[in-house]
């Protein structure tokens, strides 16, 4: 199968620091891929390189057969790649529904559309998605009044508004309480199986990744350390060393319940 997203040998340097050091990554249409790694391993920087926010110093990125290595973020978005951010980016002074309406697909929006209001179909789509994400009652509230977890949901909704073929999710569960994490998981799965949307997700919640993804890529110090099924990754000694450190080694000797309750990285 041809890949939807294909990045080859991506390099990104900040001065003397090589944040991403020749990473290859592929996502097939409709696939759910996890991207994990310790803090500072280059996950978010890789996201920034894939989505055009950072220009890359080496390698190439293509999406749906189109070379997007030098494309700007809005051009990448118009091809059908959406993303969410680790530090949530919503339009806080606009209502929840307005946030959604503004996030529709901008490809093919001509001058004439630019000077019109959002149409009824867009509005309905926004409302439906908000219902789906349990944000229906909040739709006329300013987005700035939402709680942290609701902001995550809204950002996911905004990413889905453009009918993307791939969504890059940057820590969709950070700061979200465990019951809502389950809800997010169900909804991502539904979007994936129902609409065939592919996801690439950066996560510290290993259980979340293991439950959702067929394939997991591990980054460490800017390089790809491993690429395989969640099971293979959990058993990979190099991954355990890099990702779980000493705690991981201890856990491995304790009847192998690695990642049992969504352990985060770090101490």
């Amino acid at each position: 199968m041809t890949a939807l997203l294909e990045a080859v040998g991506v390099v990104k340097r900040f001065g003397g620091l090589t944040a991403v050091d020749g990473v290859d990554i592929e996502v097939a249409p409709g696939e759910m891929v996890g991207l994990i790694g310790p803090n500072g391993s280059g996950k978010t920087t890789l996201f920034d390189c894939l989505s055009g926010i950072q220009s890359i110093d080496g390698g190439s990125v293509s999406f749906d057969g189109v070379d997007i290595t030098r494309r700007r973020p809005h051009q990448v978005a118009r091809l059908g790649m959406a993303r969410t951010f680790q530090l949530i980016r919503i339009y806080r002074d606009l209502t929840v529904l307005e946030n959604m309406e503004l996030s529709t697909q901008w490809a093919g929006v001509g001058l004439r559309d630019l000077f019109r209001r959002a149409d009824a179909a867009t509005r309905r789509k926004g409302e439906d998605l908000l219902e789906f994400l349990m944000l229906g009652p909040m739709r006329d509230e300013p987005a700035g009044t939402l709680s942290g977890g609701q902001r995550r949901l809204l950002e996911i909704g905004m990413a889905l508004m453009s009918d993307p073929r791939l969504v890059l999710l940057d820590e969709a569960t950070a700061g979200v309480n465990p019951s809502l994490v389950e809800d997010i998981k169900d909804r991502l799965r539904a979007v994936n199986s129902g609409k065939g949307v592919a996801f690439l997700l950066v996560e510290h919640n290993v259980q979340f990744v293991a439950d959702l993804c067929e394939r997991v890529v591990v980054l460490d110090a800017g390089s790809k350390l491993a690429d395989g099924t969640p099971g293979q990754i959990m058993d990979d000694p190099a991954v355990i060393e890099a990702y779980f450190g000493a705690a991981g080694r201890a856990r491995q000797t304790n009847a192998g319940d690695a990642g049992g309750n969504g352990t985060g990285a770090g101490p």
């Binding site: 980016r89 503004l102 019109r116």
Partner: protein
């Protein structure tokens, strides 16, 4: 206060607001016909000018979130291009164009230059953009002063006088009303919403497919052209321009103060704020001659501290707080995720 806010936002309040707007408009239309003096009409025309400049400033500063400290540069450019084209003096082109094409060309030049300069300066955010525009303002003024062969240098240029106050009054009234209608409509389009998205989170807007550079430069260029148009009209009425009266910081400061007082990022804010500021200054000047600017400054500080959303902003949630003028600094602190609940 809250009850009043809700009443004004509700159906009956809206109807009352409409009646009030219609009454004010009717009064403005008949004013010259019921024997207003030339001096009254001139004062009113200057007020229309300051309202228009504030509306234009609000397009970039209030809606799009690019706080421009040099907006008056477009006013001066419009004024000077008009003066150069109309003037018959030997030290200018001496072509003596009629006023309408001269003023229109002035606006077009101001808009085109705003597009070019905005393209460069709008890469900057927050205070950096503000300072870059202040620098642009000073640089252009000094170029005009130095380029004596074209601009008359520090001596300035004289325009053929045409002192029909009533005509200027009506022309500017129509233009200001048109400008208000235009912003009201723009605010409701996808374009207007995208501008607000740029203000709220420019990178987020890009990542959702909005070509932010194109849109923000377009609105900046439009604001420049519109302010340039009023600059040209002013030059014609004033019959004389020199670098220091055509390019004066006060015009930028008044636009910012009027917009803050009325409500940043609202449609009616710059109108209400500029009118209040204009008459307030007259009152302060008449009563506290030596201290009127001090009093005005204190008032502005009080507005930012006590009423940061301005007069209109109190009723219109689309407004922005003046404390968030340069909001990009606050992102990090604001967006810290909530504490994770332990499983």
């Amino acid at each position: 206060m809250r009850a009043l806010t809700q009443w004004l936002a509700g159906g009956r309040g809206l109807a009352a607001t409409r009646v009030a707007v219609a009454a004010v408009l009717a009064w403005l239309i008949v004013l010259p016909l019921v024997g207003a003096t030339d001096s009254t009409m001139f004062t009113m025309t200057l007020m229309f000018t300051s309202v228009a400049v504030a509306i234009n400033w609000n397009l970039t500063g209030g809606f799009t979130g690019y706080v421009d400290f040099g907006h008056a540069v477009w006013f001066g450019l419009g004024a000077y291009v008009t003066a150069i084209l109309m003037s018959l003096q030997a030290n200018s082109l001496g072509i003596g164009w009629p006023p309408v094409p001269a003023i229109v060309v002035g606006a077009v030049v101001a808009g085109a230059l705003a597009g070019l300069i905005g393209r460069a300066t709008m890469r900057l955010r927050g205070p950096y953009f503000s300072i870059a525009m202040l620098g642009t303002f000073v640089a252009v003024r000094e170029i005009v002063r130095t380029w004596g062969g074209l601009t008359g240098g520090g001596v300035g240029l004289t325009l053929p006088p045409y002192l029909n106050r009533q005509l200027f009054y009506y022309v500017e009234l129509v233009l200001v009303v048109g400008l208000v209608a235009l912003t009201w409509w723009l605010r409701r389009t996808r374009f207007g919403a995208a501008l607000v998205a740029i203000r709220e989170d420019e990178l987020g807007a890009q990542m959702r497919g909005i070509s932010t550079t194109r849109l923000k430069v377009a609105v900046f260029s439009f604001a420049g052209a519109s302010t340039g148009l009023f600059g040209g009209l002013w030059a014609y009425q004033n019959t004389f321009v020199d670098p220091d009266i055509a390019f004066t910081e006060v015009r930028t400061i008044d636009a910012i103060m009027g917009t803050l007082l009325g409500g940043l990022g609202t449609v009616a804010g710059p109108v209400v704020g500029s009118v209040v500021l204009y008459w307030l200054r007259e009152v302060l000047w008449a009563n506290l001659l030596d201290y009127h600017l001090v009093a005005q400054g204190v008032l502005l500080i009080m507005v930012v501290l006590l009423m940061p959303r301005g007069i209109v902003g109190a009723f219109d949630r689309r407004g922005v707080s003046a404390r968030r003028l340069w909001r990009f600094r606050r992102r990090q602190a604001d967006d810290q995720p909530e504490k994770v609940t332990a499983p």
